[in-house]
Symmetry: C2
């Protein structure tokens, strides 16, 4: 078993601190093979019953990208209309869809054959959770390569499924923008712009 | 911004490879303060709109632990009865509830005030996903400290909510066993015991 020492733990903590949800990207392309390399790391994520139900889709077609961008704009306009703090909300940049060179949509197969159904009889949502764990693994691996990742959730899942023409039954989990960030930060952009303040995790005792 | 070098990336890859879902624990207690330290790291996880909707509950009361164990046994017996490969399933150890010194139940507040609702109008499930991201952050931080973590999903969420008497509305995400593992492995136990074989991540192009 490998030795994880104090130096590694300190750098791992820095990785968590500097991970960030990135919305400001340079437009230069990723090195060839890097996405495949990141997917191979993502496949090491935990999954319910070793079902590995994550499904990745790279989106390069301009018309499909435009459909995603258009849906983001529509959903974000609706969200803005519902916001109490609309003026501040309007100043936030909530996606890097225009500049990020790599668009990666992530889905889950809600009823995968792999894994034999183990672990998900009482909690079928664990297949979606497994895809989330793969996204986070990819996110950390990308950050350790100097890349930034932004998770776009201001989208209508039904529109995304239709725009990307994915196999029937796939459940949309998240739309990822990936590329080199224009700047780095160890605090969330939503904190720096005054939207919200991070809090320590609460712990109940039972 | 910190420099993440080849040596760190290689060790991070080892962390992903050796993370494991642990079900075999030594019974010795965790050092005082370690859980709080891990929760502070978990709070660095990404969350929708910086809402940090994760809610942690340590479970120490013997009666509550017994209720969880009993529910696991009941749910696992039902799962076994449904399995095609029942003989193999019956040989799998799927939880470390008896030996793990620390039991940590994780919930999500599905409608947190923090974050102002940002990012979750069209995908309310992102609050649950945020709690999953906190679990994974804690998992990796724990592994880097030599600890093992096992995620128990073979539980009835309604029973867990009742057994732990958590605030109304909290959504059960996962029940974590935490402690020192009796052995280390770089391959999943479900693979080593012949249940399933890991596969590379699939990638569709659109």
């Amino acid at each position: 078993m490998p030795e994880f020492d104090d130096a590694f733990r300190a750098t791992l903590l820095q990785l968590f601190q500097w991970r960030r949800d990135v919305r400001h990207f340079r437009t230069d392309a990723l090195p060839p093979g890097l996405v495949r390399q990141l997917l191979d790391v993502a496949a090491l994520a935990p999954s319910v019953g070793l079902s590995q139900p994550w499904r990745f889709v790279t989106v390069d077609d301009p018309a499909r990208r435009a459909a995603i961008r258009q849906n983001f704009s529509a959903c974000n306009a609706e969200a803005l209309a519902r916001q109490d703090r609309a003026a501040l909300y309007a100043r936030l940049k909530l996606a890097g869809l225009d500049d990020a060179p790599c668009h990666l949509a992530v889905f889950a197969d809600p009823d995968p054959q792999q894994g034999g159904g183990l672990g998900r009889d009482t909690m079928p949502e664990t297949t979606a959770y497994s895809a989330v764990l793969a996204i986070h693994t990819l996110w950390l691996a990308a950050r350790a390569q100097g890349l930034g990742l932004g998770w776009v959730s201001i989208l209508d899942p039904a529109v995304v499924v239709a725009a990307l023409d994915v196999p029937a039954g796939w459940m949309f989990i998240g739309y990822l923008c990936l590329g080199y960030p224009t700047a780095a930060a160890d605090r969330p952009e939503l904190e720096r712009l005054g939207w919200e303040t991070p809090q320590p995790a609460t712990l109940l005792q039972r």
